[in-house]
Symmetry: C2
Subunit: 457 residues, 2 copies
Amino acid sequence: MEDFRDVFDFIDGNRDLYLSWLYDACRIPSVSAQNTGIGEMAGFLEGFFRERLGTEAEILQSGGYPFVTAGVEGDVPRTILFYNHYDVQPVDPIDEWESDPFEPVERDGRIYARGAADNKGSMFARLCAVHAWRGTRGSLPLGVKFFYEGEEEIGSPNLGIATEKYPSKISCDAMLWEGGSRDIGGALHVALGVKGLAYFELRLRTANQDQHSSLAPIIPNAAWRMVRALSTIKDEDDKILIDGFYDDVRETGPEDKFFLNNMTFQEEDTKKFAGIDGFLGGVSGYELKERLLYWPTANIAGFVSGYGGPGSKTILPAEAVVKMDFRLVPDMSGERVYDLLRRHLESRGFGDIEVEMLSTKPPYRTNPDDPFVRTVIDCARDVYGVYPAVYRNMAGTTGMYDFCTAVGAPAVLVGVFNEDSRLHAPNENIFVEDYILGIKMVAAVMGRYALQGRDSG
Amino acid sequence: MEDFRDVFDFIDGNRDLYLSWLYDACRIPSVSAQNTGIGEMAGFLEGFFRERLGTEAEILQSGGYPFVTAGVEGDVPRTILFYNHYDVQPVDPIDEWESDPFEPVERDGRIYARGAADNKGSMFARLCAVHAWRGTRGSLPLGVKFFYEGEEEIGSPNLGIATEKYPSKISCDAMLWEGGSRDIGGALHVALGVKGLAYFELRLRTANQDQHSSLAPIIPNAAWRMVRALSTIKDEDDKILIDGFYDDVRETGPEDKFFLNNMTFQEEDTKKFAGIDGFLGGVSGYELKERLLYWPTANIAGFVSGYGGPGSKTILPAEAVVKMDFRLVPDMSGERVYDLLRRHLESRGFGDIEVEMLSTKPPYRTNPDDPFVRTVIDCARDVYGVYPAVYRNMAGTTGMYDFCTAVGAPAVLVGVFNEDSRLHAPNENIFVEDYILGIKMVAAVMGRYALQGRDSG
């Protein structure tokens, strides 16, 4: 990192200023699910670009909450795009917050605020890195584009519009996506993709209304029937029994195995956070990581039937509703899983269970051989002093696929949160140090990727 | 019924008066679950006994809502006890009522009001029958005792106290219990007992809180685990797989078979009311009746885990709660089923599922050879003009066991509701004709049982 010592020093010198910017951003309650603070946040960003970075942002219509975009030219004709979102999750349950979610405070080296981790910390790490380059050198080593959406926390329903209507705002050579933490061992997580998702609602009605439970011997019970149907979907070893389910799963290649082998995973820490004694199937090590990242899933997210309140009610439920999310790995598709699930249920005599696909997103993996990936890994090692945990894909899902496929550039996920950042939960937080290191990480990626472009070009 | 023509004529002549008394009773919102109108109802009954039957009622402390008791001597030293309850169910959902639940109205030959069927109609049929005997003959053919509780709809938690503290108020030679309908073919249902009940709550926690569903490959899911545990409890043919579950089930004897063979059951009607195409297991006829009355059950009354609201939430539930009610037949006991269920779960590797027994009531069957049973059947045939449907036991449960066992007299359940009486539901109703016939039925039982006592004594 010798080359960027001046930039890093500038970042350290402006530590309080950079923290204050993040605080200002976290004070705005831009909760997309509740339509609060969205316009205010977009306006705040517009002002920030003008006053702090000397460039005009554009507010672009998306059909829903607007996109905020901006761009700054650089010294080489190579452009990196920063994807972030300016919306945050609701704060419920508010009683469990130890301080006001929209009044950031520092306690024990952490910044507590809704959005600190997801993802205003990441957003401002990038903005500050650009500011630091300008402040140190007067110009940027390469071109940057900022692309912010305001609907990530409600499923990015309009993200596809950006690729159709505003291609010039998103064309680039490489992308830093949001998301990604640093583990307790100090290693930054660098993710090269995400799993896909198919979210289903299964609905079963066995009578016109709940019946008195004395009729249990003769009238079908929706809860029992749903239990039986579900029990055909997975076996005791968590193998998914839907015919053809694994047909589209791409075989784990040598490169995928290499990534897993070299990836740290904090097992004890994960168990502690979840309050569990052991992992599903009793696995650990390579097998655990393989399950987490390369296995598709069939998760029951909810099962609601009959009476669940206090005490007793002697009813025979007429309806059962189950929510299931399937995480998809290459080359699975939600539409195909939907067909297979319906066929599975029909062939087992459960054709009366209605299945609705509420949403789906394909899996996405960037090309691991792209030089940008190498650059990010090298920067992570140098900035954090520990070789990063490189995830071939994250276990979770974002709307990367359509966007990144349309842009056609490599995309890597890095962020500033830790393993106890409590995303979407009360007392969301990041470490102050992770924020500062995150700014340096982005600054390093900008510098190295520019150099690498100059060398190769 | 030649003997009681004068009594029946008196009943017909006082039709409007008897209806008005029921209306007055139904106007009082004696909802035990909400503690409304309880004192008012007890006071109303006290006044009714004094003014209409010329006898003083006693309000007896139960520890909860009081018992109301009364007694009238008769011409022979034989006593019949009428068990009823003066509380009713809540009226929710109030929006679905077509008229005010506490302002009785007659529409199309039916009386609509909360409590009309369950069980103020039955209660007043008995009071009116006593009034009619007195009005016609000046005295009663046999002694009667009235025993009313005010907590039946909240599970009769204090009924046992009556047998301990007030034995003289309930000693008798025979009992008419509340409950029982008349089917669409005109036959009165005469029931000689009830199934028992054991109500369990199963609770499972697999992590300290709901997890993000991306962790599904490695963190246990409470909903999945509960589905698997439940799927070991019953097979596809509804056979209960708990080891030893059927050991205590008394074999179906020739008499039990006789009752089933001679019992009508309105299959098409039941299917129509429930909105189903066929019964569980595709059975009908004798087998259907056998399942309904002589099979124990393992019913899922509720299954709640994870997210059941609109749209999607990608969580991995940390907790699952299941409510199960088991209907018991002789000689099963709730305590034994509790032990068996716990052992079953433990032996299948589900010892982490906590099982709590919320309540239990033993099954009860009266002696079918008792002459009182014959008397009731004969009266039902003569009053309704159709041979009654005699149930060896009802499919449902009441708190009969402790009370009736302590009293040591035969107990038969008859009532005035129909198969669309909507007990516990909006638009509760009875047919006006069933109310009037119900009065005659009670009058006939009083007369015949008195005669039969005189003959045998």
